[in-house]
């Protein structure tokens, strides 16, 4: 792959719902081996931005480039095939299947085995092992045989993360991975994401509202506000900027910037 | 040695034509009873009637007929109600080499292109209806439009009607076909009105319609009289003729109305039916009875033998009495011929239905019923 391109780039990406401009001409490039946090108030357009990149929504104007290739007009599945993967903010799983089967299906998609009609699925041991390996990593392995509908909310969030990891895409988009996860689980997920960071060919996009998570993971923060990109830079510097302090953290400028 | 003779009545006991089926069965049983003087025996052989339901489904009908011939060893089968089922059943009779007496399914092709030599029919066919109506309505100078269901039955009927009109001096000026499930006949009526509006002389709209959803009342409501258009149609069951009450003076031809044929068999049928069920016999009761009487007549001729070849020999050209009058199985296609009755509707406040009054009896010889099986 040519390395002069950023892994992912959006140019003037815009979407309008009726008259409401939810994402407003966002241009931004994401480099290999970096983790970028996207912050902004509720309704700033973060999830919508993700939806535009991964193809769930079609942009009103602007484009998305992956390794320099224009993705406009490609379906969600085609984009996933090319290396864009995401986890969802509101949990989105296969509820009547087991935990293991959820992850196995991802591994199978990754291995491009879906159209195989005449072999028996359970004979593809490597896919099952891959799934179990990921489940062990997120500490869900003992619930592998439960159906997803019976999982507690926090466990479903973990499975959501596990499925993105099993997909091994080039661009990983996490939408509030730790929301609803209990304090003891958060470090597990953070470690996992940090582990992915070490793999330098990938690029991670992370939407989070927890400042400590952002501080420990992000190399860069971009700020969306009412759909527009309003700040971009080093974490410390962006967090200290007045717009983040006021509009996002809700602090008067003189207040201390600790915890969240 | 006296043996039981099994007669299988294979017909659509359940389904949309349940009412017809009931009449048909009652008629069959009364026919057997009348013809055997109540003994239900022919030459000492007992007649046993078994019933099979086709559920109005061709596949079920086939299976039921095969079962009747094969498992129950029936000598003769009677039925069914619907033409589609009948057509599916015909080859089964051939396969088993046993007689199927079709009653009252009407499609021409039963004794036409799909006929085989094991098939006899006591019911009238579409051609008979069409020809009788053509004879009844066809006068020089008369202009006729037809309205029929848009499938094989309706189209065949109109074709036969058109054929029969030739030489009567009447002219068929317009054919309209409407889907069987049409709910609103305004458009059809309008097309017909537009076609007949300019014509001179007597103008008829002849309706060929089987089953429910009959358009006559709805067209009548559009006031065709103002354009000088008269409605005509064939006979029907009493329940359906309630609609005729609104159509006094309507003309047509039918094969049976309980008050029309004057003969001892019909007198017996009407009295007995009134006595047992409190109602007069209906359209298909007479048909069923004709079938029952045909069977007994044939068995009497063979001396109780149920051998198929004997039966065929006995039945070809056989003449016998029925409530509809004298009937005869034509040799060529085994279609039974009978008189038809040209009627005109009269309203009798004591009866719920419009009463067909006999205008003229159309004898077998008055009508040239085409043979289709060659």
């Amino acid at each position: 792959m040519t390395s002069e391109h950023p892994v992912l780039e959006t140019r003037d990406l815009t979407i309008r719902f009726g008259g409401h401009v939810a994402v407003d001409a966002v241009s931004c490039a994401f480099q290999r081996g970096t983790t970028t946090a996207i912050v902004g108030p509720n309704g700033a357009g973060k999830t919508t931005y993700f939806n535009l990149i991964s193809g769930q929504l079609t942009a009103t104007s602007g484009k998305v480039l992956l390794n320099g290739e224009d993705l406009s007009g490609l379906s969600v599945a085609a984009r996933t095939d090319r290396g864009i993967g995401r986890a969802f903010q509101l949990t989105n799983l296969f509820p009547s299947l087991t935990v293991r089967e959820n992850v196995r299906l991802v591994a199978q998609a990754r291995a491009r085995r879906g159209y195989d009609l005449f072999s028996v699925a359970s004979s593809h041991v490597e896919l099952i092992e891959r799934a179990e390996h990921v489940l062990a990593e997120v500490r869900l392995i003992e619930k592998a045989d439960q159906t997803v509908a019976a999982l507690s909310h926090g466990d479903q969030r973990k499975l959501e993360v596990a499925m993105l990891i099993a997909l091994q895409p080039q661009v990983l988009m996490f939408d509030e991975p730790t929301a609803g996860m209990s304090v003891d689980e958060v470090p597990v997920v953070l470690d996992l994401i940090a582990g992915l960071k070490r793999d330098t060919d990938r690029s991670i996009l992370l939407v989070e509202h927890k400042m400590d998570v952002i501080r420990s993971l992000a190399d860069r923060i971009i700020v969306l506000h009412n759909g527009a990109l309003v700040a971009d830079g080093e974490p410390a510097e962006v967090i200290a900027s007045p717009i983040v302090q006021q509009a996002y953290l809700g602090r008067e400028p003189e207040e201390e910037t600790v915890d969240a | 040695a006296a043996e039981d003779i099994t007669i299988a009545h294979v017909y659509g006991k359940t389904g949309a034509l349940e009412a017809y089926a009931k009449q048909s069965h009652t008629g069959l049983m009364m026919g057997l009873e009348y013809a055997t003087d109540g003994s239900m025996e022919v030459d000492g052989n007992k007649l046993v009637v078994i019933e099979k339901d086709t559920q109005l489904k061709p596949d079920v009908g086939r299976a039921a007929l095969a079962e009747a011939y094969g498992d129950d060893d029936a000598a003769i089968a009677v039925g069914p109600v619907s033409s589609g089922v009948a057509l599916a059943m015909l080859p089964v009779a051939e396969e088993y080499g046993k007689i199927l007496l079709v009653e009252p399914a009407v499609a021409d092709s039963i004794t036409g292109e799909n006929w085989n030599r094991y098939i006899f029919r006591t019911g009238r066919n579409s051609s008979q209806d069409a020809v009788a109506n053509a004879v009844a309505l066809g006068k020089p100078g008369v202009k006729i439009a037809t309205l029929a269901q848009d499938y094989a039955f309706g189209r065949d009927g109109v074709a036969a009607f058109k054929q029969a009109l030739k030489g009567t001096g009447a002219e068929l000026v317009f054919e309209e076909y409407a889907p069987t499930d049409t709910q609103d006949f305004t458009a059809s009526a309008q097309r017909i009105f537009d076609a007949l509006k300019g014509e001179k002389g007597r103008k008829f709209l002849f309706v060929i319609w089987a089953g429910g959803n009959n358009p006559i009342g709805k067209i009548k409501a559009m006031d065709p009289d103002r354009l000088g258009i008269e409605i005509a149609t064939g006979g029907n069951i009493l329940a359906a003729m309630k609609a005729y009450k609104a159509l006094p003076g309507m003309e047509g031809a039918t094969y049976y109305y309980y008050d029309i044929p004057k003969n001892p068999v019909n007198d017996w049928l009407v009295t007995e039916h009134e006595k047992r069920f409190g109602t007069p016999p209906d359209f298909f009761t007479a048909g069923g009875m004709a079938a029952g009487m045909a069977i007994v007549e044939a068995l009497k001729k063979t001396g109780g033998s149920t051998d198929t070849e004997d039966l065929i020999a006995a039945m070809e050209g056989m003449e016998w009495q029925t409530p509809k009058g004298k009937m005869v199985f034509r040799k060529e296609d085994h279609q039974a011929l009978q008189s038809m009755y040209h009627f005109k509707i009269k309203v009798d406040p004591n009866l719920e239905w419009g009463v067909p009054e006999l205008v003229r009896e159309l004898k077998i010889d008055d009508m040239d019923i085409p043979i289709h099986n060659q």
């Binding site: 599945a77 095939d81 359970s122 | 339901d53 498992d71």
Partner: protein
């Protein structure tokens, strides 16, 4: 070995294994176990319906697509074979070619329907297929010169498959070994093979993906499965199998018409068989089809007996008169959905709702 044949998909319940075995065994030896024309006919019908219902389960149970066009494909298969036999005479090659053409037409039509209309919402897809199926039925009845219209087609099949053809003069176990028996076994083994193929398909990676598509198509798309292709693929496969089942029916009945293949009633019956049997289980098709066909065939007879027994009682005898068999079939519809919310197979496997 056996496990390989059934693609490792075990019935997962002792009783269910037993039931499936009994059904299989009974069908295999039906001509000898239950002699008689009606019972052989019932057995053949069960075999054909197992395939038809299983193919619908692929669509409904595994892919979550509600289609009312399944009988249309069934009809296309039947008409393919019927028209070929009608036009080219009763030969095996006409039969085979007609079957093949029917399946092909079904596949192409399913592909078109799938690509054009699987994008709409599930309930609208159901209605669109209902519309297409009824338009197709209208077409068939309109083109009566070609299809026989409402009356259908009656035709001959190769002589080797008719009762007139005798394989041996002696009877075995009091059953004459004739072409009809041959026809039965042709149908039985074709049905068996088709069923096993379906079983393999649902246990393949493709089949497991279908379940994901059913559960959450949005997410399936987001992990890289092109949902529309999977749905269309399932539609085409199930249409082809349905068409083949239709061909089997055409061969068995020697008659094909709208009432035996295209009617809405058959569609609803298929639906009921899938649901009673248990959706998304394949074995459900076996159990559901068998029970339903048996009920449909013998309920009326049973009621005849019952109504004789209760002759004197006024309302009751009216209600259980054989003419009212549909009433009880309706009651059966309701009760079976009540008592088997997860189907008989689900119940036997101890699943809860």
């Amino acid at each position: 070995m056996l496990v390989r044949i059934i693609s490792g998909d075990m019935p997962r319940s002792r009783l269910l294994s037993l039931i499936v075995l009994v059904i299989g065994f009974s069908l295999l030896f039906a001509p000898f176990l239950f002699p008689g024309i009606k019972s052989l006919d019932t057995a053949a019908r069960i075999a054909i319906f197992i395939v038809l219902v299983a193919s619908y389960d692929l669509l409904l149970g595994y892919t979550g697509i509600v289609s009312f066009a399944h009988t249309m494909f069934y009809g296309i298969g039947a008409y393919g074979t019927a028209l070929a036999l009608d036009a080219w005479g009763p030969s095996f090659w006409a039969m085979g070619l007609g079957t093949l053409l029917g399946a092909l037409v079904a596949a192409v039509l399913a592909l078109l329907i799938g690509l054009f209309s699987l994008r709409v919402r599930a309930i609208f897809f159901a209605m669109v297929t209902l519309a297409i199926a009824s338009a197709f039925a209208v077409l068939v009845s309109q083109m009566s010169a070609f299809t026989g219209g409402e009356d259908g087609l009656t035709y001959r099949i190769p002589r080797e498959l008719t009762p007139a053809f005798r394989l041996m003069t002696d009877k075995i176990l009091d059953v004459s070994i004739n072409g009809r028996l041959l026809a039965y076994y042709l149908i039985f083994f074709c049905a068996l093979v088709l069923f096993l193929v379906l079983l393999r398909i649902v246990n393949s990676p493709f089949g497991t993906t279908l379940k994901a598509v059913r559960d959450n198509s949005f997410r399936a798309e987001a992990i890289g499965y092109r949902v529309i292709w999977y749905r269309t693929g399932a539609t085409v496969l199930s249409a082809v199998v349905a068409a083949l089942a239709g061909s089997l029916l055409a061969i068995w009945l020697r008659y094909t018409g709208p009432a035996t293949t295209l009617s809405m009633e058959i569609m609803i019956n298929i639906l009921l068989m899938v649901v009673i049997g248990g959706m998304g289980t394949m074995y459900g098709a076996v159990v559901g089809a068998t029970i339903f066909i048996l009920a449909q065939t013998y309920l009326q007879d049973l009621m005849g007996i019952a109504s004789k027994a209760t002759d004197g009682i006024p309302l009751l005898s009216e209600l259980i008169a054989p003419e009212r068999w549909l009433l009880w079939l309706g009651v059966l519809f309701i009760l079976s959905v009540y008592f088997f919310p997860t189907g008989i197979v689900g119940r036997l496997r101890g699943e809860v709702k």
